[in-house]
């Protein structure tokens, strides 16, 4: 299974290398790449939610809402209990519940999945706006720490191995999901359910059960992405906190061809483009209008997608409710 087309791969490498040489001021280069990673992580994690759901045939456009409500719960529970671990647990519970709600609507009730996802987004926006109160604080955030030895590697150390606990958890989940999807029985069954549920059913795989499990776990991953934003990256919560990341993630999922590593690469590309854009404004070496530099990540993404995306194919049974006995 190819995670990216060859052309796509060349393109990414070329852009990464260009940036590397351009910003080659050692500390600055490292800072730009570390920033790119920080921009990329919540997007990559959110894309995992999409991958887990769509691989089993459920379209989830409620990622934004899941992240938003989880970030909200993470922050306010942490604030009320003055303990960020409890906040994190509460957020993961919330995310799982939202996954479960989506599963009930999409699998049991066989609702239109776009509408089901929209319901989740509207619910999250409404609840978080209504229940939000200002002036609360949390006792601290998940602080960055260095992973011994690995963080001493030049360049890669500071970029990848000096982060907070939730970032590391996120990276591990992405790698684990890649292995799980392609190298475990669960992964094979999930993909089968997403491609041809009736065959999977004939072979003795419970389509309904697997879809329920995967969508619920995906909700928990979305919760981690949300909690990362409020408990590690920012340390607060504001209305509209996720600022569309859940939707960007869906695009990255397609860009990465429903493959966890592909989506990770796509997220890194987008995150780095944002870090480049910032750096161009910081350095002010070339006097490009800031409107252009600010739009750079989006322009780069469009260009790369148009030139190199090629043909992408979603899981065949995506978006279709499964009914026993219908092929």
């Amino acid at each position: 299974m190819k995670m990216l087309s060859k052309r796509n791969g060349y393109f990414l490498v070329a852009i990464l290398a260009t940036g590397f040489f351009y910003f080659n001021g050692s500390d600055v280069t490292t800072s730009v790449y570390a920033t790119g990673t920080v921009f990329a992580l919540p997007l990559a994690l959110a894309a995992m939610v999409g991958i887990m759901c769509e691989r089993t045939g459920i379209v989830n456009i409620g990622i934004e809402g899941t992240m938003l409500l989880s970030a909200f719960v993470a922050f306010f529970v942490s604030s009320l209990t003055q303990n960020i671990i409890i906040g994190l647990i509460a957020a993961i519970f919330t995310g799982s519940m939202m996954g479960l709600i989506l599963a009930v609507m999409a699998v049991s009730w066989r609702m239109d999945q776009i509408i089901a996802g929209t319901i989740i987004n509207i619910l999250a926006t409404g609840l978080t706006s209504f229940l939000y109160v200002q002036g609360r604080t949390i006792p601290g955030v998940f602080q960055s720490f260095e992973i011994p030895i690995l963080s001493k590697i030049p360049f890669f150390g500071p970029v990848l191995f000096i982060h907070g606990a939730l970032t590391f958890a996120g990276i591990i989940i992405i790698l684990a999901l890649y292995v799980a999807i392609y190298h475990t029985t669960w992964g094979l069954r999930s993909r089968a359910v997403g491609e041809h549920p009736s065959s999977a059913d004939t072979a003795g795989v419970s389509v309904v059960r697997l879809r329920y499990i995967n969508v619920t776990i995906a909700g928990a991953i979305g919760a981690l992405a949300g909690a990362y934003l409020s408990l590690e990256l920012v340390g607060s919560f504001e209305r509209g906190f996720t600022a569309g990341k859940g939707f960007t993630a869906l695009a990255l999922m397609i860009f990465g061809r429903w493959n966890p590593l592909g989506a990770l690469a796509a997220a890194m590309f987008f995150g780095l483009a944002q870090a480049y854009a910032n750096q161009l404004m910081i350095d002010q070496i070339v006097n490009i209008p800031s409107q252009f530099t600010a739009a750079l990540p989006y322009i780069m993404t469009i260009v790369v997608l148009t030139i190199s995306a090629g043909k992408v194919r979603p899981p065949a049974a995506e978006g279709q409710p499964y009914e026993k006995g219908q092929a």
Binding site: V32, T35, Y132, E238, G244, N278
Partner: protein
């Protein structure tokens, strides 16, 4: 039955337009439009009235102005920028005397309403009023002056000689004025100290989330911090607040808030906020409301006061000689004898 249906429809229509909450009950809304009644309505920009920023400070001013005049005040929260005109009309059709509209982006809607309702006084917060209408007054501020003062102070407090800004979108004039004033203030201080200070302002991409993207603000602030910038000016709604929160996580780094004294409104950044580049929104709005009551209000534009907020907990970090210099330059900048270098 029909009555009930129309009530439900009305409620639904209201819900889509925004929530309406009365502030006080001394004069009631039913009196608005009758002789002797004085009613002030405020339409918020996108966002809530408790946004720790613009809407909140303006509403405080409107409320105070109305209360002082013995009048009635009420606000509508805008939930969609398409509803600006509709929300203004809700007040206008009920015979309100003064309508305050908050935010740069509502400028066009306010100007149009001024023409449509010539008897009502409009106060446009942060809106430069280019028309000759006598019933529309723009409450504007010299953001470049506030930014200049913040930059000047930062120029004296930096240890690494690198100062940065994390801002909302550049297309909004007040944001750009803050930015240019800030950089010029830094340069001014650098000249006085004969030091070369690097300054930079990073703007968010233009778009609906430019002022509501705290994650971008935090990440960008972090990018600056890891490159040795030790003072960061966060200006742009919750995008800027995200930056302030991030700076607070780094020991030794300082941050500067914007618009109102953010020491009180961004509690997670209390430990790093050395000052805020303040526009005295509450004072400006209440002054104009009082003028409207006294019928002394003029059209055109009213320039509100700007300045730096108190240093609060970080007062000890600002050396006495810097305080003296800041005081002197503040007088000069506000009087116009020291140019902020903003070219427009």
């Amino acid at each position: 039955m029909i009555k009930r249906i129309s009530a439900v429809t009305a409620a639904l229509a209201l819900a889509t337009v925004g929530f309406i909450v009365p502030a006080q009950a001394a004069t009631t809304e039913a009196d608005c439009g009758t002789a002797g009644a004085f009613c002030v309505g405020l339409v918020t920009d996108l966002g809530k009235v408790d946004d720790k920023s613009f809407n909140q400070a303006s509403w405080d001013g409107a409320k105070a102005g109305a209360a002082k005049a013995g009048g009635f005040s009420k606000y509508i929260e805008t939930t969609d920028s398409k509803d600006y005109a509709k929300n203004i009309a809700l007040f206008a059709d009920k015979g309100y005397n003064v309508i305050v509209t908050v935010g740069f982006l509502m400028g066009d809607a306010t100007a149009a309403a001024g023409v449509k309702y010539p008897k009502i006084k409009f106060i446009g917060v942060d809106q430069f009023n280019a028309s000759t209408a006598t019933n529309v007054t723009g409450l504007i501020f010299d953001e470049d002056k506030a930014g200049f003062l913040a930059g000047y102070l930062a120029g004296y407090l930096t240890k690494t000689n690198k100062i940065g800004g994390v801002f909302g979108m550049k297309e909004v004039l007040p944001v750009r004025k803050f930015g240019e004033g800030f950089e010029n203030g830094i340069a001014y201080a650098g000249k006085e100290r004969s030091k070369k200070i690097k300054s930079t302002v990073v703007y968010h991409a233009a778009g609906d989330n430019a002022f509501s993207d705290p994650a971008w603000g935090a990440t960008t602030a972090n990018q600056l911090l890891t490159q040795g910038f030790d003072i960061i000016f966060g200006a742009g709604g919750s995008t800027g607040n995200g930056a302030l929160g991030k700076v607070a996580q780094k020991a030794g780094a300082l941050c500067i808030g914007v618009d109102i004294d953010q020491y009180y409104t961004v509690p997670e950044a209390k430990s790093c906020i050395v000052t805020s580049a303040e526009k005295k929104l509450t004072l400006g709005v209440s002054t104009l409301v009082a003028q409207a009551k006294a019928a002394t209000i003029k059209g055109g534009n009213y320039v509100g006061e700007v300045g730096l907020s108190p240093f609060h907990d970080l007062s000890s970090k600002v050396p006495a000689v810097v305080k003296v210099r800041l005081k002197k330059i503040t007088t000069g900048v506000l009087a116009g004898s020291v140019s902020t270098g903003f070219k427009g």
